[in-house]
Symmetry: C2
Subunit: 314 residues, 2 copies
């Protein structure tokens, strides 16, 4: 007995439902036969290579944990100063030997320097900046947004840019990365401008959208969310591990650019400005097969664009 | 360095913000001073005992895993036949020795009989029904709904009944339990009426609201989500564990009514028809302190009502 995974199992809109949709329209002539909607799996299978992009070695961080590799795609368009700082920190080996220090259920997994709050013991940031401006939002106008039709009450406008989920307020001319599952942000203290990228977190539960525009989001996990989300939860103090031995060591965190080409993970990501991505959103909206009730919608945090192994050249 | 937990850290609406809210109103006389909004922690601390309820021994299932205890509150108002069946199964010891068979990241943890799909090997349901009607929704009219002001695009009406998150369509006179984090449903096959309660799942990621009205929801996890959500993820076949040794044994699952009174977990749940719950939702809507941008809203899946240890009588 099973229940179906929406994204993987999204099925074609049934003929009956298409008939129902058209019955509300007073058409002068019978509609052209509609192409059958594809499932997510079919979209991926049929997608042209041009709908996929390679990982940018300057914008992808590979973090090695005892449990395996976590890949993080950085978002320089949204947080240029934080991303530049994270690059410097990674190049200096700053994260190597640091640890996952906090796992709070249905909220975040967080990593950094366990001694970060004790100046005498804290690891120095070296050539990276110790102070950065908050990067909570950018200008909405001019943004190459692939807009969604759905809104969710959290923002007037939703869509995708560079593979990331984006919310926006056009009147204020502001756009920002949404705190969906798997998004990565830079921890901060009370001061809005107290994050540097030395301490990072990933969302591991229901999207905590109240954080949007309150903290700098720097990217998202491309691979390895299953590792970050299945770690033992910490204690009642916001999920911080109470004992040093509970922490999970970060063996290393390097930019792909600093890893020999032949050792880099060979992954591609579906472009969110592609027709294939738009077809996947349609597959999520229109469910057949196992589904009795067609939801007719999806949402901004309904799941990131898929990845695939790089195909052998041929 | 840290980021704040929204629910735990919700703080008072700042005086400045109150001034801003009032500046838009042309009032004939100055407004009465507004009472300071309480944080979630303050609401819980100040809540009267009458805002809390005890666990109902007939509606609470205690499932023992090697990792610890999981408590599930059943929802007889929404799924009376499934809940009655689950009670019978538990009383017969049906779940004892079965297993968690599937953990799919950002989706579900699922448990039941690993041999459930092989009639020759499957454990018999005994006095429980092998066939039940689907219980996807109930009548909206007459439901004692504590309504939320927020909508999220998934339903016209949202709110809480008996501690559960509820969505509704008044025109269709239908209400249903929403698939928020921690909600528990009854796995089914292709046929809408193929669930019995012998196989159950809990949501461990972003609320998969496309499942709403497609499967029978039977309750929610009151305690132990940290255990269910931190299990190792299964393989690419929808998260099903591929090897028997990956499965997590269910040592037992019993109704509290079938456990000696002195061994029952001593927990109370905040009533969702209480003033305290309404104050917690307000605290989630209005954030001060660490927050720079006040979200001004919360959502149906923004977190369940809190629990507390039963206070010593006196």
């Amino acid at each position: 007995m099973f229940i179906r995974k929406p994204a993987a199992q999204a099925a074609a809109l049934s003929t009956g439902l298409i008939a129902l949709l058209f019955s509300g329209l007073a058409l002068a002539k019978p509609p052209k036969p509609k192409p059958k909607l594809l499932t997510t799996a079919e979209v991926i299978q049929q997608s042209p290579n041009s709908d996929w992009r390679d990982l940018d070695p300057q914008n992808t961080l590979a973090m090695e944990l005892p449990q395996g590799q976590v890949l993080i795609e950085l978002a320089p368009r949204f947080a240029p100063k934080h991303v530049a700082n994270i690059r410097k920190l990674a190049q200096q080996g700053f994260y190597n030997g640091l640890a996952i220090v906090r796992v709070q259920d249905n909220f975040v997994t967080q990593w950094g320097d366990p001694n970060g709050d004790e100046p005498a013991k804290a690891r120095g940031l070296g050539a990276a900046a110790a102070k950065l401006p908050a990067e909570f939002s950018i200008a909405y106008r001019g943004l190459p947004l692939t807009r969604m039709t759905e809104t969710d009450g959290w923002a007037q406008v939703t869509g995708f840019v560079d593979g990331f989920p984006v919310a926006a307020n056009p009147k204020q001319n502001k756009a920002w990365l949404a705190h969906c599952y798997g998004m990565v942000g830079a921890g901060r203290n009370e001061a809005a401008d107290s994050s540097t990228g030395a301490e990072l977190y990933a969302i591991i539960g229901q999207a905590p959208r109240a954080l949007d525009r309150n903290i700098t989001v720097v990217g998202r996990v491309l691979k390895g969310m299953d590792l970050l989300a299945s770690l033992p939860r910490g204690g009642p103090n916001m999920g911080f591990y109470e004992l040093p031995e509970q922490r999970v060591e970060i063996k290393s965190a390097r930019l792909l650019a600093d890893i020999p080409a032949e050792e880099r993970p060979a992954l591609q990501v579906l472009r969110t400005d592609s027709k294939s991505w738009s077809q996947i959103l349609d597959a999520r909206r229109n469910r057949g097969g196992w589904y009795v009730h067609n939801p007719g919608r999806t949402e901004l945090c309904g799941g990131p664009p898929p990845t695939r192994p790089v195909k052998a050249a041929g």
